[in-house]
């Protein structure tokens, strides 16, 4: 990692951490006020989920836990750290989530069909996330900490996921099997053993092929972050009755805006359903995925402020690169709806709740990322 050569006066360096923490504490106070307001307005459950969201954001920004970057660093430098941290997070979440879901009918896993749209959507998502340098969680946490590029990707993401849901039934018509829950075929223990084994084999393979490089992740922080993500993901499941998700909320924001602008969604196969119409017309604070998204934004902001990584100055970008950001956002949003989730909803939550579509998402998205990393170099979008 290049070290800057501009000398910083000692006093400024000493003051910087203290003023960073002070700003972070100020922001944290605002977050507490927001939490109280949310609890008062929409109840205890939404308040708790907001806190869980803050947890996600603080961890992601605090240890720079990037799913996208983790894959890219492996593809480019053969550094497996990011990948291994992901496996740790998903594996730990899985060990608690799958037994819980099997014994409690009131908790749902990520239930999605095994469809052609998952393969196509995940591939495009994997590609686009490398272009945008951010997946679902990555875009959100970077937007939360004030990254201009991520903030440009976000609106496209919202529009894309709204339109993706609009077209979902047509994509499913291309061919889809009903959802396959591994616990139905292997039982709880069998599923845990099988998935752990796959992770172990993959981890070993990655470790064998690693190259000695200076890893961007210092020390064990990223693994501690992985453990914390698993804890928050399990809390998400226990509190909301459904696993961690991101893109549904973004699409809902798009649907609300579209409805407010006069678009009639009542005839659409997805947005016209009774449950969706009710959610469109209910306050956004009552939606589970939206509230964890808001928390994620807030938590990322606080952690980044404490670390001093908040609001990085935008590198001078050519206009074509800003356009690429918008297009990538649209692609991310649209493809993640086809794939029934982004890296969080499909990869993390799909695998950790024992749905086969999660593994299909993983494979297709990784293939897309291989291409995406090459394209990124071609477009000279930076490391």
């Amino acid at each position: 990692m290049a070290v800057t050569s501009v000398p910083i006066p000692a006093a400024a360096a000493a003051a910087a951490p203290r003023s960073r923490y002070r700003s972070a504490v100020q922001l944290a106070t605002l977050a507490v006020v927001a939490w109280l307001a949310i609890t008062w307005l929409v109840g205890l459950r939404q308040g708790l989920l907001f806190l869980v969201g803050i947890g996600y954001g603080a961890v992601l920004a605090g240890v720079s836990f990037g799913f996208t970057t983790g894959w890219r660093i492996w593809i480019r430098d053969r550094d497996p750290t990011g990948f291994l941290a992901q496996f740790l997070a998903i594996g730990l979440a899985m060990l608690v989530s799958i037994p819980l879901i099997a014994t409690h009918p009131e908790l749902s896993g990520a239930v999605a069909p095994v469809s052609i749209s998952v393969v196509i959507g995940a591939f495009v998502f994997g590609l686009a996330m490398q272009i945008a340098d951010g997946c679902g969680s990555g875009t959100l946490y970077k937007a939360g900490l004030g990254n201009g590029f991520a903030l440009t990707v976000l609106p496209g993401f919202v529009v894309g996921s709204f339109v993706g849901a609009l077209h979902l039934d047509r994509w499913l018509a291309l061919g889809a099997l009903p959802p396959i829950a591994l616990t139905d075929h292997l039982g709880v223990a069998g599923t845990l053993i099988a998935q752990s084994a796959v992770f172990a084999v993959l981890a070993l393979w990655l470790w064998r092929r690693r190259r000695a490089t200076q890893t961007r992740w210092k020390g064990r922080a990223v693994y501690a972050g992985a453990v914390l993500l698993a804890v928050f993901a399990v809390l998400n499941l226990v509190i909301a009755g459904q696993p961690w998700g991101i893109v549904y909320g973004l699409g809902l924001w798009g649907a609300k805006i579209a409805t407010a602008l006069g678009m009639d969604l009542t005839t659409n196969a997805f947005w016209g359903r009774a449950a969706q119409q009710a959610q469109i017309h209910a306050p956004v604070l009552t939606d589970v995925t939206s509230i964890t998204n808001f928390g994620l934004l807030a938590g990322a902001m606080i952690a980044a402020t404490a670390r001093g990584t908040a609001c990085p100055p935008p590198e001078a970008q050519r206009a074509s690169q800003w356009i690429a950001a918008i297009v990538a956002g649209l692609a991310l949003g649209y493809s993640s709806r086809l794939a029934f989730g982004c890296n969080v909803g499909a990869y993390f939550s799909g695998i950790s709740t024992g749905s086969v579509h999660g593994w299909i998402w993983f494979a297709a998205a990784f293939a897309g990322s291989l291409l995406g990393v090459r394209l990124r170099a071609r477009l000279r979008l930076g490391a």
Partner: protein, 313 residues
């Protein structure tokens, strides 16, 4: 000879319009010979179960499950549609002056409320010679009463529904009574509902009417059975609760089911004047957004939710 006289008397007295609100199984058995008598079996159990109308009912009884006497699903306590009620009563061959006995299963205190509600509905529609089988089918079978699976055919009547305002409290009347605190408002629900700690799923909010008094519907019964205590005991219980009075009284609950029991005891058994039932009760009242008492504040609501959530873990 004496038995014949008693039998003739028991047949003749009702024809004078003197109806007993509660009939014991023996008393009902004595009247089975009357072809004008209509026994309405309100059980709603599925046909294949042992305690259903299809498996065995009182000879001559007709089936009219409880649900047919109620309002729409969103507001089950509301008065049924007059035309629908009229055609139901006509199909049972009931006309003005027909003696009617309401027979329920006799399972528990809440199930008695169903019989009381049907009794009230018939009286509200304009009928006068009404009774409830005390203890229901359970008591009938225990007393050795005959049961049959034969379904009797009756000719439909020409009955016309004429709502009796003396026993129906409309929403407007209750609004006025609550505002002026002029009537005795009796909440027939268990204490938790009265205190606003629980609510019926169809109600918009928990709570009770302003100034209401809580007299749970089950105080009138022997244990959890569907047998009412004696009239003398009921009088004593009413006096203890301070409701043995001729002050205008409105009985209510969630959907006018439990409240029917209180109404029945006060109006029919104890013979108090001016006792009305508020049929849609708190479900209808809260849906209309009208003022309520004992509505938990936000913090109290959080505490109640927390307690309920912990309780299930």
């Amino acid at each position: 000879m004496l038995r014949l006289l008693i039998l003739l008397a028991s047949l003749w007295l009702p024809s004078l319009g003197v109806a007993q609100p509660l009939l014991s199984p023996d008393e009902l058995s004595a009247r089975l010979g009357d072809p004008a008598l209509r026994i309405v079996d309100i059980r709603a159990t599925p046909a294949r179960e042992a305690s259903s109308y299809a498996s065995g009912h009182i000879p001559g009884a007709l089936s009219a499950p409880y649900g047919k006497w109620r309002g729409p699903a969103a507001n089950p306590g509301a008065l049924p549609d007059a035309a629908a009620l009229q055609s139901l009563i006509r199909s049972l061959g009931i006309d003005a002056g027909t003696p009617v006995v309401v027979a329920a299963e006799g399972k528990d205190t809440t199930e008695f409320g169903a019989a009381a509600r049907v009794y009230w509905t018939l009286k509200a529609a304009g009928l006068t010679r009404l009774s409830i089988l005390n203890g229901g089918m359970k008591a009938w079978r225990a007393a050795g009463g005959a049961v049959t699976a034969d379904v009797r055919a009756v000719a439909p009547s020409q009955f016309v529904v004429a709502w009796n305002p003396q026993i129906i409290a409309s929403r407007e009347e209750v609004q006025q009574a609550a505002a002026q605190q002029s009537d005795l408002l009796l909440d027939a629900r268990p204490l938790a509902y009265f205190r606003g700690e629980s609510r019926h799923p169809a109600a918009r909010a928990p709570g009770t009417l302003v100034g209401a008094k809580n007299v749970p519907h089950d105080v009138w019964f022997v244990g959890d059975s569907a047998r009412l205590q004696s009239t003398a005991d009921a009088q004593r219980i009413a006096a203890e609760h301070g409701i043995a009075t001729d002050q205008p009284t409105v009985s209510f609950c969630n959907t006018g089911h439990w409240a029917a029991t209180n109404w029945f005891v006060l109006s029919e058994v104890l013979g108090q004047k001016d006792v009305k039932l508020y049929p849609e009760s708190m479900v209808g009242w809260s849906q209309a957004g009208l003022p309520m008492d004992h509505v938990p504040g936000r913090l109290q609501q959080f505490w109640l939710q927390f307690r309920e959530a912990i309780g299930a873990l």
